[in-house]
Symmetry: C2
Subunit: 218 residues, 2 copies
């Protein structure tokens, strides 16, 4: 039984980037399939894509086993799936159940606590209401990162929880990148910035950055 | 070693309700600790609560082992923790890794795909921008439930994924309740309504409803 992966993703999608980080940490290869979420109303809204992921979002992982494809959306479930099915690779969750739960808590502080509030459709709606979409995005990034910094101050070693990279770190890098795009000053989060630097020092992590992807636009 | 649980929660918080459902499905007891998220700017914003959960949100699970307390926030990590640490109880995740991942995908379609967009602070901000907060909440509930119905149509048996209740079903009940509060007609989601009825027929589930909680207001 041979399994390969195709990652349907977009260079600047933060949830896509989390999956690229997981592949890098695990040393697993995948085929990059670019989905342009901006072009012509977004390729993720086409019927062919919607049939594979009714949420019409990237990332979408295509798991190809002996020629047959299965599809899986949502970044954290994808990371858990890779962890469970590739036990020979670096784990992204620690062994102790309480510490595992804390890793998941920090990951969710980004995944459900920040990212959904600054998604493209939400920012478009804020603009339609006459709001300042950058101020909106900055507000929720700041609130969320203040909480994450406090959580990290309790649990961080070299990484967000202890001394090994985890699901939580895979969420951190894209969120700090997003926060800076929205002109949020991240120096107020010293633990998060320290951990970010430790992550980029790991083998293969630099190549996961948005601007290093094949569909990146200068 | 004796472990007991105290659940810091609020009757109408949908994420709190997910944890009550998990306890009911597993037949585990817990002490109900009411946190009034509306009173005096919200009890979850007090320094004493913030020290336990920097995200200043319910639910917060207090795990008391031999008199010592540890704290855990975020509903899905709490559910995974209960599943991993109480293997003698009904599991909330199936055994097959791909099916587990699909359960988590459906749970996230609610947890990160809908609920964060209709949280109290977000609705307050929409109102500040001059928007209609009910229309806003209805919009994201509808978009999210359309996607969830499509996902469920692929995977549902008696429950959202197959024939046993899971993390995903724990997310479904509170979200349908929220959607109706925002005046969204849920008859357009026949699979979701059918699964909802199957869930309420399970022992102990009716007692998890918001209006059955000690801090409920008529």
């Amino acid at each position: 039984m041979t399994t390969t992966y195709r990652l349907h993703n977009y260079w600047r999608s933060s949830a896509s980037w989390r999956v690229r980080i997981a592949f890098a940490l695990k040393g697993l290869a995948y085929e990059y399939v670019a989905v342009n979420i901006l072009k012509d109303g977004g390729e993720q809204n086409r019927p062919t894509f919607r049939a594979l992921n009714p949420q019409t979002q990237v990332p979408l992982l295509e798991v190809v086993t002996d020629g047959a494809s299965r599809f899986l959306a949502q970044s954290l479930p994808i990371l858990e799936f890779l962890d469970e099915t590739r036990p020979e690779t670096t784990p992204l969750l620690p062994a102790d159940p309480y510490v595992r739960a804390r890793v998941r808590q920090l990951a969710e502080a980004v995944n459900s606590g920040i990212q959904p509030l600054q998604n493209l459709p939400i920012l478009a709606e804020v603009e339609r209401l006459g709001g300042d979409k950058l101020a909106w995005a900055r507000k929720w990034n700041e609130r969320g990162l203040v909480a994450l910094e406090a959580l990290a101050a309790e649990s961080a070693g070299r990484f967000l929880v202890g001394d090994t990279p985890s699901l939580a770190d895979a969420c951190l890098l894209p969120q700090l990148y997003s926060a800076r795009r929205f002109s949020l000053e991240t120096a107020a989060f010293p633990t998060l910035e320290r951990v970010e630097a430790a992550c980029y020092a790991l083998p293969g992590l630099d190549a996961t950055r948005p601007e290093r992807q094949p569909d990146a636009v200068a």
